[in-house]
């Protein structure tokens, strides 16, 4: 794996205005343009009215539009907001051999999810994200990050009809993800994020996730930046285990909980780079720049600036699009302001670090 400092420099824009560089990025999903949903519904209802070619054109247009929206917000590493994906498990389950869909299941109230069933051994059939990556990289001026649902979440949020124990399915999926990441790297990807929201529901399984990550990075070149994203959990149960994970960056949702858990990580031994959630993904209220700057300073209590990445708490897809954009724009402004304060010495990062305090 790359060391955090060297790995980050490739993301510094040539015209970056400050000596300090806080890498700004996203977790992944972004609200879909209303017209895309409309075209999809028409395509699904009547393949003659909106044919496959028109649907493909619509997705490409949306991907181009949201990638550009990320760049306009000033982000250093971008993606296309997952315009080609509807749901984080379903998208992959439709591309992995061995999965079958047997109907929707209740999550809560009248909210349902097409929970897939593993009905035979899982296999790698065709690239999952190559098209998404190559298109996005082709239209982006900034480096592209690729979010992938992690094996633990893919296994936990599926019915397993085949494997004897949950870990066996999880490891089998990790091997497939290794194959996918290898192909993405061949295509040019250098920043990959594994999303593991299910880890929060069973933090005692952190060793299984650790073994999965070892399998996923096996044979992947050192200069590929590997990030692990988790959200909505008790982080005290997975830290310090994550220090031993073969990752460059750990992305965590903390704005939503008002940084109550930040001290969990502030023992001075935090090993990977910290990608800190600094805007809430669940409320459309747009945080003012000054508030986000304060959130970024929370991250500096754990790691020095050269190890701090700044991102929203989680994917932004449930927000109104204007709110999502405004949050990203303010987030980037806040990061640049904090960089300026660090450059000028107005902000002393060493003094903020909890572990260095007397």
């Amino acid at each position: 794996m790359s060391d955090g400092v060297a790995g980050r420099e490739r993301f510094r824009p040539a015209d970056h205005p400050h000596d300090h560089f806080l890498l700004t990025t996203v977790v992944g999903s972004y609200p879909k343009p209303a017209w895309l949903t409309d075209v999809r519904e028409r395509h699904e209802a009547d393949g003659d009215a909106v044919g496959d070619d028109e649907w493909q054109e619509a997705i490409d247009d949306a991907s181009r539009l949201i990638t550009d929206e990320h760049e306009r917000a000033g982000l250093d590493a971008v993606c296309d907001g997952e315009m080609r994906r509807e749901e984080m498990v379903e998208f992959f389950a439709r591309r992995i051999g061995g999965y079958e869909f047997k109907g929707p299941v209740k999550v809560w109230g009248h909210n349902y999810f097409d929970k897939p069933s593993v009905v035979s051994e899982v296999t790698y059939e065709e690239p999952w994200l190559r098209e998404e990556y190559e298109f996005t990289a082709g239209v982006a001026d900034r480096p592209v990050k690729v979010p992938i649902t992690g094996p633990y979440t893919l296994a936990t949020w599926s019915f397993d009809e085949v494997y004897d124990d949950d870990a066996a399915l999880t490891y089998a999926l990790a091997d497939l993800i290794n194959e996918e990441v290898s192909r993405l790297v061949e295509a040019g990807a250098r920043y990959v994020q594994l999303d593991e929201p299910a880890l929060a529901t069973a933090p005692e399984d952190h060793a299984v996730v650790g073994e999965c990550l070892e399998r996923i990075v096996d044979g992947i070149p050192d200069d590929v930046r590997v990030c692990l994203h988790v959200c909505y959990g008790d982080y005290g149960e997975i830290y310090p285990a994550i220090n031993d994970y073969p990752i460059d960056e750990f992305d965590v949702e903390l704005a939503n909980g008002d940084y109550e858990q930040i001290d969990v990580f502030a023992d001075g031994d935090f090993a990977p780079d910290l990608a800190l959630g600094v805007v809430d993904a669940h409320t459309p209220t747009v945080e003012p720049v000054a508030e986000i700057e304060a959130n970024i300073r929370e991250g500096l209590t754990v790691v020095p600036p050269e190890k701090l990445t700044v991102s929203p708490d989680c994917g932004l897809k449930i927000l109104p699009r204007e709110a999502a954009y405004a949050k990203l724009e303010n987030m980037v402004r806040a990061a640049r302001n904090v960089e300026a304060d660090l450059d000028s010495g107005e902000l002393d990062a060493a003094a903020l670090r909890t572990s260095d305090r007397p």
Binding site: K102, G103, P104, V105, K106, G109, H110, F113, E161, T201
Partner: protein, 333 residues
């Protein structure tokens, strides 16, 4: 020894009503069941109930439940519709990717009659009928108390409330499944075991029907199991899908009630057990415990069934009924 194919209720909504109710109620928190539904919503639930009763009949189950289609908040439902309870945040339902509105008890849990009303509607479709209720400890565990002040008085209050609810059940109810998974997942401290036992007895004593106390997602602790054996319930339930060794150990060491409920079909996996597998699990239990002649062996899915897609749910009922048929044939030989 009677074998009875049955279920722990809480079924998935049939396809037609799932769409219809989402349209009528919306997908947010505000539209969920509160005990005061519109005529259209009531009609949709009537249709769901009719369908769910028919599915059990077609499968050939020996006990038929109402289906609990209205239970938006799963086992927390009886509190979520009570007038002295407000529904709070949407919180996680055990260790599942499911969520419910946390009931916050703000006043005395007076008699409500919500469960009896649904059962009376079901009794017009099928007689006899099996009721399903949460256990008093589980209901406390899923809720928050802003009224009773201590866990002990909250538990007593919830037990009295449930006793009042089951006492109002229609005569058609011949069996009551009391679902108490929290006794396993978040067990009570030793010093309240006696009180938990009394709470179960309060519910048991209030109804003139066979009462089955069923737990799942593991096995009961030994001490708590012993206390529950002291209750007057007719049957204790065991989750043989998740904890067959531990459950058999409890029965080997401490015995059990006159009847047992055995969770032999996985309520949380779309893999459909063959009738042979169901029969094997039932005979494996019989062969491994010292008691040979139970009054009734209730064969059931280990959990509620709302976790499954509708088709898999139907297949599970078929597998269960066929498995019990095979077990009966085996015993007869």
């Amino acid at each position: 020894m009677e074998h009875a194919a049955t279920t722990a209720g809480l079924y998935p909504l049939p396809d037609a009503q799932r769409e219809r109710l989402a349209d009528l109620k919306g997908r947010g928190k505000g539209g969920l069941v509160d005990g005061d539904e519109s005529a259209d919503v009531t009609a949709a639930y009537d249709a769901a109930r009719e369908r769910l009763v028919a599915v059990q009949r077609e499968a050939g189950l020996d006990r038929v439940v109402e289906g609990q289609a209205r239970w938006d908040d799963m086992l927390a439902h009886p509190l979520c519709v009570h007038e002295n309870v407000r529904t709070g945040d949407v919180v996680r339902y055990y260790d599942n990717n499911n969520f419910y509105r946390e009931p916050v008890v703000t006043g005395p849990l007076t008699e409500d009659g919500d469960l009896a009303a649904d059962l009376s509607a079901a009794a017009r479709l099928t007689d006899p009928l099996q009721a399903v209720v949460p256990g008093p400890y589980t209901l406390c565990d899923l809720a928050r108390d802003d009224h009773y002040g201590s866990f002990e008085s909250f538990l007593d209050g919830v037990a009295d409330f449930l006793a009042g609810e089951v006492a109002a059940f229609p005569d058609a109810v011949e069996t009551v499944f009391v679902l108490d998974p929290s006794l396993v997942t978040d067990p009570p401290d030793d010093d309240v075991h006696e009180r938990v036992r009394d709470a179960v007895d309060a519910v048991n004593d209030a109804v003139d029907a066979d009462v089955v106390l069923h737990t799942y997602w593991g096995a009961l602790g030994e001490r708590l199991h012993a206390y529950l054996l002291d209750t007057g319930v007719d049957a204790l339930g065991y989750d043989l899908v998740n904890a067959h060794e531990e459950c058999v150990y409890l029965v080997q060491e401490y015995g059990t009630a006159d009847s047992v409920a055995l969770g032999v079909v996985d309520g949380q996996n779309t893999r459909i057990e063959s009738p042979g597998t169901v029969a094997d699990r039932l005979s494996w239990f019989r062969e491994n415990v010292p008691v040979s002649d139970f009054e009734t062996v209730y064969a059931t899915p280990n959990t509620e069934l709302f976790y499954l897609p509708v088709n898999a749910f139907g297949d599970k009922l078929d597998a269960l009924a066929a498995g019990v048929e095979a077990a009966r044939a085996e015993v007869a030989e």
